[in-house]
Amino acid sequence: MNDKKLIEIDNLEFSFNTYGGEVQAVRGVSFEVNQGEIVGIVGESGCGKSVTAQCLMKLNPEPPGFFKKGSIKYKGEEIISKTERQMRKIRGLEIGFVFQDPMTSLNPTMKIGKQIEEIFIERKMYSRGKMKEKALEILKTVGISDSETRYNQYPHELSGGMKQRVMIAIALVAEPSVVIADEPTTSLDVTIEAQILDLLRKLKEDLGKSVILITHDLGVIAKLCDRVLVMYGGKIVERGTVDEIFYETRHPYTSGLLSSIAGLDKKREDELSPILGTPPDLFSPPIGCPFAARCEHAMEICLEELPEEYEVSPEHKTMCWLENEQAPNIKLKAKSYEESDLI
């Protein structure tokens, strides 16, 4: 893998002003994305994963949202200080975005073809014929058969899986180097989901693109990602390669997530072990570890002070007091699969 860093985020904080006060959606997030890798961001709703991704393209409405701290660098250039006009040169051309809900993200009054070409029209990049050629080509790449007909159809004439492919086509048509996919398969059926995930993998393998994949589904992460960031309460609580996260889990939240899935290996007699309680309120986030209130291993210090990131291996870091040398040695709920259990 090429070690070229495309995106570097350093200590990013992003908040929203609301009538109820300031919602601290992202509270100090740092990570980078290298060329040609798939980075997964996983977490529950409200953990700040979508806001983080939208910060990369400055898509969060400002106001009410505002950057509090930190920097986002794309190919060494600072994003936060860019104006709306400058951002338009980055959106779609440098970074593509696949939105969560294909049913509502497409414009119902525009033909598919026009929506794909829209990015070129404003920039007057190509002639009309060349634009159409590009659009048809990208429709084929994302696996839409009969692209000539689809080009002239409206979104309501397409099924959910098709619309999601069109969304991916729009994100890809200007050949950006990074694609951010925000829950690209959440509203789709499993068989269609499998097709879309295959397509995303091809982006990386055949076209050498970087992908940031945001999801709450650990199954999707396992199938696709190289590196994983686990987010909770606006912070990254654990990060590592996909194998490290799944087989050498260090953070109690990650371990809790893994053991609350009703996987295929679960017997009917086994109880699922859910994480009790609910995520923290980001109006007044806890001073200590965000997960402390729900953590079964919580100690006094967890409630009082925020743990630093401990390095387990060069890639694998976890934000948990249990890593401290003074902490008791605790074995997390291990998740073991028997290969024979699976089809």
């Binding site: 499998a194 997530l257 109880e271 994480i275």
Partner: protein
């Protein structure tokens, strides 16, 4: 789990067709038959648009089937109200059957938990009104104090506290709302509950809480569930039997363990192989059957195997006639021309 001879719910040749325009009929459910025994959980799986929710709605009388019968405790649930000829044949009873009463009695035994906890609770009603509505309907003279006691008891059962009784739905999180929905279903002490994707709108860690609770309540109250879902791993975990639907047809029906170990219908095989598994080594090495294309339209379907257009084992006969559901092995039925008796 003891099985009685008679199923609690017997569905026979159930069809639900919707007329869209002149000459266009959408066959949402076509000729579906299955039995549900007392105390068991039957999973109903399939992709969106395959008719699983419509089937569930027919069982709780939210939808009037076009054809077929649904027997609950050996009584046909639709004939009371809608079929005059039937009532006339049974003329000795006609005076006794009050259709409104019959429907009310039925709703006391059969309840439903809905998919979306955000839209299935009335935002202008308090928890007390939502959960108490059913109790009031069946116990017209209930005293306010007794009603509140009952509601508090129900709330405790589903893991909410009695302080929540006078709050409104918007004050709760998704998981808590789904608990209110479950308390509402339990309030009339039903025997049978249709769970229509009860967890798909919830977060992973909360899903496990709700599943555990559904299992606990089932044990305590001796309930029978029809569990509709598209998440196959959850269905495997919770169900005794699984029914797989594709475009309005039942394609396979088997005991849960058996179905996942030995899926027979090519569609079931593809469906099972595309479940995302939260284990990178297995997920990457596993052979997946990626289905080409998408669900074809259920409007005026051809008389052929509905899966034929996407099936890789397709044979000429598949396009000529529709395979019937046959018992291939004990407790394992499949509708596919690949399997002959």
């Amino acid at each position: 789990m003891t099985k009685e001879n008679n199923p609690l719910m017997r569905v026979e040749n159930l069809s639900k067709h919707f007329k869209i325009k002149e000459g266009q009929i959408l066959k949402a459910v076509d000729d579906a038959s299955f039995d549900i025994y007392r105390g068991e959980t039957v999973g109903l799986v399939g992709e969106s648009g395959c008719g699983k929710s419509t089937t569930g709605r027919c069982l709780v009388k939210l939808e009037q089937p076009t054809k077929g019968e649904v027997y609950f405790e050996d009584k046909e649930i639709y004939k009371h109200k809608y079929h005059k000829e039937y009532l006339q044949q049974q003329s000795q009873n006609i005076a006794e059957i009050n259709p409104e009463q019959a429907k009310l009695d039925y709703t006391k035994d059969v309840q439903m938990i809905f998919q979306n906890p955000y839209s299935s609770l009335n935002p202008r009603m308090t928890v007390k009104d939502i959960v108490g509505e059913g109790i009031r309907l069946h116990h017209k003279n209930i005293k306010n104090k007794e009603l509140e006691e009952r509601i508090e008891y129900l709330l405790k059962d589903v893991g909410l506290s009695k302080d929540h009784i006078s709050r409104f739905p918007h004050e709760f999180s998704g998981g808590q709302r789904q608990r209110i929905g479950i308390a509402r279903a339990l309030s009339v002490d039903p025997k049978f509950i249709v769970c229509d994707e009860p967890i798909s709108a919830l977060d992973v860690s909360v899903q496990a809480q709700v599943i555990n609770m559904l299992k606990k309540i089932q044990k305590e109250r001796d309930l029978t569930y029809l569990f509709i879902a598209h998440d196959l791993s959850v269905v495997k975990y919770i169900s005794d039997k699984v029914v797989v639907m594709y475009l309005g047809n039942i394609v396979e029906k088997a005991d849960s363990e058996d179905l996942y170990k030995n899926p027979m219908h090519p569609y079931t095989q593809a469906l099972l192989s595309s479940i995302p598994i939260a284990n990178p080594k297995i997920a990457k090495s596993r052979k997946r059957i990626v289905l080409e294309g998408e669900l074809s339209s259920p409007i005026n379907p051809k008389e052929q195997c509905r899966f034929a257009d996407r099936c890789k084992h397709v044979m000429p006969i598949c396009k000529e006639n529709k395979p019937p559901l046959i018992t291939y092995e004990e407790n394992h039925e499949v509708a596919c021309h690949l399997y002959k008796k």
